[in-house]
């Protein structure tokens, strides 16, 4: 008896949804085993993760959605590029640059007294533009010279990190400290906690309106991808660049445009983080959302609604896992769960068949 792996021609609905769920369950089971090996009670640890990430009342959901916001935006950024088979793996760098530009607008460009309704859109626009510019570089290099966007977008992450450090430590340093000064209060994205004066229960709920923006853009993503010519062209280029070219589609222009939009979305995530969460630019404020987003996009099969869902679940896992210390164990749990889900994904598009 031999076994053979073959692709499923038309994956059934059951398999498509069943596989990731099975993977998730397998991951949790394996994690539980590992926890027991470390002498940690697995039911208690998993309950603590669920409690703190999802089920612990308003706080838990607020924390999780706050983390989900940049993940959704960067997930969309990655998915947009991946749809066209452009491997933008530099969302992290575009995120940095978006944070940088929004900060620049807030502390270097606009006068202190600018009203929030003017300043916040300006910061968002600057964040988008800077991320877009950072995405345009790999785009242009790819379109003009055929340079691998995987390498260029990745390397630009490190350039962006140093670029930001220069401003944090030097040009925009607050009295020589490793951070810029705080943004004026009016420039902060409104958050639920702002309602505390009317509704005391809101105190400490840090979810900000950037989350709405993320949902809105997820809807816009869907519309562009499935209801516009541009979206259609992208998908065709993704399947076969030659076909797209033959059909008279502006392939090179689209390469640049896709990476510009992709970078812009990631840049917007950066603007939301500084305007909604940190309220100034400082070192080490991002735990790698731009890289995690690559995973989000894939797990969601590049589908915008699924990106929102996957971001939510993953954020809950990230937030809840802080309950398990030392953090190495939490990171291992995340790794096990994600590996199992990704592995299960394989079986939704392939099957193993016995060959007589």
């Amino acid at each position: 008896m031999r076994l053979r792996v073959e692709p499923r021609l038309v994956p059934s609905r059951l398999v498509r949804f069943g596989a990731p769920v099975t993977g998730l369950l397998a991951g949790l089971l394996l994690s539980a085993g590992m926890l027991e090996l470390f002498g940690i009670s697995s039911p208690r640890a998993l309950a603590a993760i669920v409690q703190s990430g999802f089920a612990g009342g308003l706080y838990a959901i607020s924390d999780t959605l706050t983390v989900a916001t940049p993940l959704i935006l960067c997930g969309l950024a990655c998915a947009l590029a991946f749809k066209a088979r452009l491997w933008n793996v530099g969302a992290e760098g575009q995120l940095f640059l978006g944070a940088w530009a929004a900060t620049g607008v807030a502390i270097a460009l606009l006068p202190e007294g600018t009203p929030g309704w003017l300043a916040i859109p300006a910061m968002a626009a600057a964040g988008f533009a800077a991320g877009a510019a950072w995405g345009a570089v790999p785009g242009a290099l790819k379109a003009r010279f055929g340079t691998s966007e995987i390498l260029t977008s990745l390397m630009l992450v490190y350039v962006a990190a140093h670029w930001n450090n220069y401003f944090i430590y030097s040009a925009w340093s607050d009295r020589g400290f490793q951070m810029t000064r705080l943004f004026p209060r009016a420039f902060w994205l409104p958050r639920v906690a702002d309602l505390a004066s009317i509704w005391p229960g809101a105190a400490g709920l840090t979810l900000h309106v950037g989350f709405f923006l993320a949902l809105l853009l997820a809807a816009a993503f869907w519309f562009v991808m499935f209801r516009t010519r541009f979206g259609f062209e992208l998908k065709v280029s993704g399947i076969s660049e030659k076909t797209a070219h033959y059909a008279g589609m502006p392939v090179k222009r689209n390469i640049v445009l896709v990476l510009v939009l992709s970078g812009g979305l990631a840049g917007l995530a950066g603007a939301c983080e500084v305007a909604g969460v940190v309220h100034r630019l400082q070192e080490n404020f991002l735990p790698g959302y731009g890289f995690t987003a690559i995973l989000v996009a894939w797990l969601a099969r590049l589908n915008p609604a699924a990106i929102v869902l996957v971001s939510f679940l993953l954020s809950g896992l990230l937030v809840g896992a802080r309950e398990v210390q030392p953090s190495g164990i939490a990171m291992m749990l995340q790794g096990i769960v994600l590996t199992c889900v990704v592995a299960a994904d394989f079986f939704s598009s392939n099957r193993i068949r016995r060959v007589p």
Binding site: G57, R175, P190, G204, L207, V209, P326, G328
Partner: protein, 391 residues
């Protein structure tokens, strides 16, 4: 409009928390009268440096102050920090230590929300009048002693060059570098201290490269202000000498080629803070502890330790004597930075016998209830070869 949006968000939160079977945090420790202290770390305990030293302090606290402690490690300084700190406050912790500069704003925000919890931030410059303080120790005193050892070693080896691997040109780092250089010039007046800024707190590869570049420039001793033991190891491999930082393990990989390490000993100060809080005598302040508190230490010269073999015997009594005076509080950071001082461009910084203020040492200005610095830490003392990157 904004308010409608926010209420929308709030409604969404409420709905989703209902779905997620809203049990208000019943799991948080309910064991009433236990005094609980929590720590938030920026790095992993296993970094062997800054966070490791804080965790040693936590363990000391647990052992000696009879309190329960918990820690959360590897917390990024953005959204995560505020969430992690608030979470600990909600779990009925009585004191929360947050041990990275970037935790300053989130600590302040959460402190305002939880007036019954005490917050101590290591290290920054903010505080409030009820429950939020910042805390730091005078590592510069130990760096001064380490400089004296380095100068003596270079003299003995007939070298005049000492190398320093430095992270970022901020006041704290510049202060420690200057203190070290002043120490070097005590035992080796014509020694020069070459510096390499690596623009990272922890980057083993670049730290090592910087050390190698200094060794190629002829350095006899390498001191590091970064977190990895890389520079010390690089010096050892080149047959030269290293001086480590942060934790007392900094020399562990090459003890025979490591002269000393200046390290943090947070335990006693943490225990003292907790004791004061429990007795109700604690007040929020800008806590800055001198060597007499035991917060800073010099490897080889603390109780029960012996100087490393590489420390020239001629200088040992001198170091021991000054170290003892520091521990008694007779020689402080203000004596380290006593005039006359010149910067490395020949400009007078401080006239004879003049002293710096605490604000000068920390480069503080525009803070409520504190005077501005006038000789703000932003210069390199005579003997240092290098510049502070322009602002």
């Amino acid at each position: 409009m904004v308010r409608i949006l926010l209420f929308g968000l709030a409604a969404l939160l409420a709905a989703s928390s209902l779905v997620g079977c809203s049990k208000q945090d019943s799991t948080s420790q309910a064991d009433g009268d236990d005094f609980q202290v929590a720590f938030v770390y920026v790095g992993p305990v296993g970094d062997g440096g800054w966070t490791y030293a804080h965790n040693e302090g936590r363990l000391y606290l647990e052992k000696n102050a009879g309190v329960k402690t918990t820690m959360v490690e590897n917390i990024a300084e953005g959204a995560e920090a505020e969430q992690a700190i608030r979470n600990l406050a909600r779990k009925e912790n009585d004191v929360i230590f947050t041990t990275s500069f970037g935790f300053m704003d989130p600590t302040e925000a959460v402190a305002q929300e939880f007036p019954n919890v005490k917050f101590i931030h290591v290290t920054g410059f903010k505080k409030n009048s009820t429950n939020f303080a910042n805390l730091m120790g005078a590592m510069e005193s130990m760096r001064y002693l380490a400089g004296m050892i380095a100068g003596a070693r270079a003299t003995e080896d007939d070298s005049r060059i000492i190398g320093a691997v430095e992270p970022f040109p901020i006041a704290e780092v510049i202060r420690l570098l200057n203190a070290f250089a002043l120490g070097v010039r005590v035992t080796c007046p014509d020694c020069q201290i070459h510096i390499r800024w690596i623009n990272s707190w922890f980057d083993p590869v670049r730290e090592k490269e910087a050390a190698q570049s200094l060794l190629e420039a002829g350095a006899d001793v390498i001191v590091t202000g970064c977190d990895s033991p890389g520079p010390v190891v690089a010096a050892a491999q080149a047959g030269k000498w290293g001086i480590g930082y942060d934790s007392m393990n900094a020399c562990a990989s090459v003890p025979e080629r490591c002269l000393t390490a200046t390290y943090w000993n947070w335990g006693p100060v943490y225990a003292d803070m907790v004791r004061q809080i429990r007795e109700g005598t604690w007040k929020p302040a800008d806590y800055y502890f001198e060597a007499d508190s035991g917060i800073v230490a010099l490897l080889g010269f603390e109780e029960g330790q012996t100087p490393a073999a590489g420390v020239p015997a001629s200088v040992v009594p001198k170091i021991k004597d000054l170290h003892a005076r520091m521990k008694k509080g007779e020689f402080t950071r203000f004596d380290v930075f006593r005039g006359p001082l010149r910067d490395n461009r020949g400009k007078e910084i401080l006239s004879a016998d003049a002293k710096l203020t605490q604000e000068d040492l920390e480069g503080l200005s525009k803070l409520p209830d504190r005077p501005d610095c006038t000789v703000c830490m932003g210069w390199l003392v005579e003997g240092i070869v290098g510049t502070i990157p322009a602002r």
